[in-house]
Symmetry: D2
Subunit: 139 residues, 4 copies
């Protein structure tokens, strides 16, 4: 375990991953005291579920959830944190020009961490919720 | 509910989705009696977790799981089947040139269906398992 | 769908179930506007994990989570609501003289509802979190 | 990690837990090579969902799933294995005189193990499926 990261460092880590970089994820805010990170995913043509729907495919939403949950921990422990498992519940279609994931750590133990992730559209509607378990291997 | 689909019809549905089409998913086999569909996801640069690892990002694996589980039902009921929720457990890094998802329906009820999805790499190693609940709205 | 229930009606429904009645669950509070119900589970000898630990077995905690999540919906829709599936994450041992589940509905759709459940011990420590999907069949 | 356990040792561990002992669980069979354990739960009045239904409450089924998944690992590693999280999907009402859980380990890693659990009634109908993640702390 190293030091917590600042917002620029987290953004650089996101951009350096080919998969995440392609998703164009943007760190909106980070709050180490509240254990919360907010990450935005702008729409791009490759995310659309069906042509003309303007709706994100659930796979893109699931990936956003996994990543946001992971980085709620990465920003704290300063390094890579493997996902053990996660669950996604889809509540409403994710339409509009961007989706925003708010990830909050519920428990950061030595070997297991649990993070909740809410995904809202740009109208503020809750589109999906996620819950992930990660392996922080904290010192 | 319409008729079950054949392999070409399922492949066309996959290709017609911008999101799935970008993933280059290929229907390897379908067995309506065994309630099983096998879908392959070849590696592409945008799927890599970190440059030089050759490993799929978990987000791509999760999306593959959601889609394979969904199409185990789509091929039966002949139309779109929304995902209610799904869970992914990551067992080993998914490396190599392709991953293959085998999705098997455990229960197809009138309003809820449950599908299990196993993901193997091209060496036959089990990399991830998924379980999804879908809303078939049958009959 | 009938009318929302009051606290006495919910308590009676709990007591009338042989399984729930044995668990001695008590409705602490209900808030229809906040979509929240709080249910307490006092320790009893049959709940202990191992003799002398004073810790609840995870099975009892899982059952509490399922029931609390269910009744967050039952109090709204006025009748039985089958569980589709649920997930439990254990964060800390549940010791002490009682556990309290706070269940909050995240989404009440026509055919699917999602509820989050937090379980605290009587020191206020978060012991477990649950997330359930239910089938409300709302008019 | 100690030695694998035999069937009598596993049965004794089950009986020694106040919670599991109350459930009257019985080890039907164990197969260390197939990583499989089968555990039976006879009906008892305290398990009934509603008087006169003859149906198990989902909480009892969830507890059975957690325990069966756990003991698929306990029999291998010879000691206690904490549950990290688990998921239960209910497929059909569990009626009749007993339910039987078949738990199969999908992956036993050093720090995380994943187990699948199928629950059948005494007519052989699949009533529920579970998937659990456990912390074996092997070696």
């Amino acid at each position: 375990m190293t030091e917590p990261l600042n917002k620029d460092q987290v953004q650089t880590l996101l951009d350096d991953s080919p998969y995440i970089g392609f998703m164009n994820l943007e760190v909106v805010s980070m709050d180490l005291d509240k254990d919360e990170i907010v990450i935005k995913m702008p729409m791009r043509p490759e995310f659309e579920r069906r042509i003309g729907t303007g709706q994100y495919h659930g796979g893109a939403i699931a990936a956003l959830i996994d990543i946001a949950g992971d980085y709620a921990l990465v920003m704290k422990v300063g390094g890579g944190v493997p996902t053990i498992n996660f669950r996604v519940d889809f509540l409403r279609p994710g339409t509009n020009t961007s989706l925003t994931a708010t990830a909050t750590t519920r428990r950061l133990g030595r070997s297991v961490a649990v993070v909740d992730i809410d995904v809202h559209d740009d109208q503020g509607k809750l589109c999906a919720v996620g819950r992930g378990t990660y392996s922080p291997n904290v010192g």
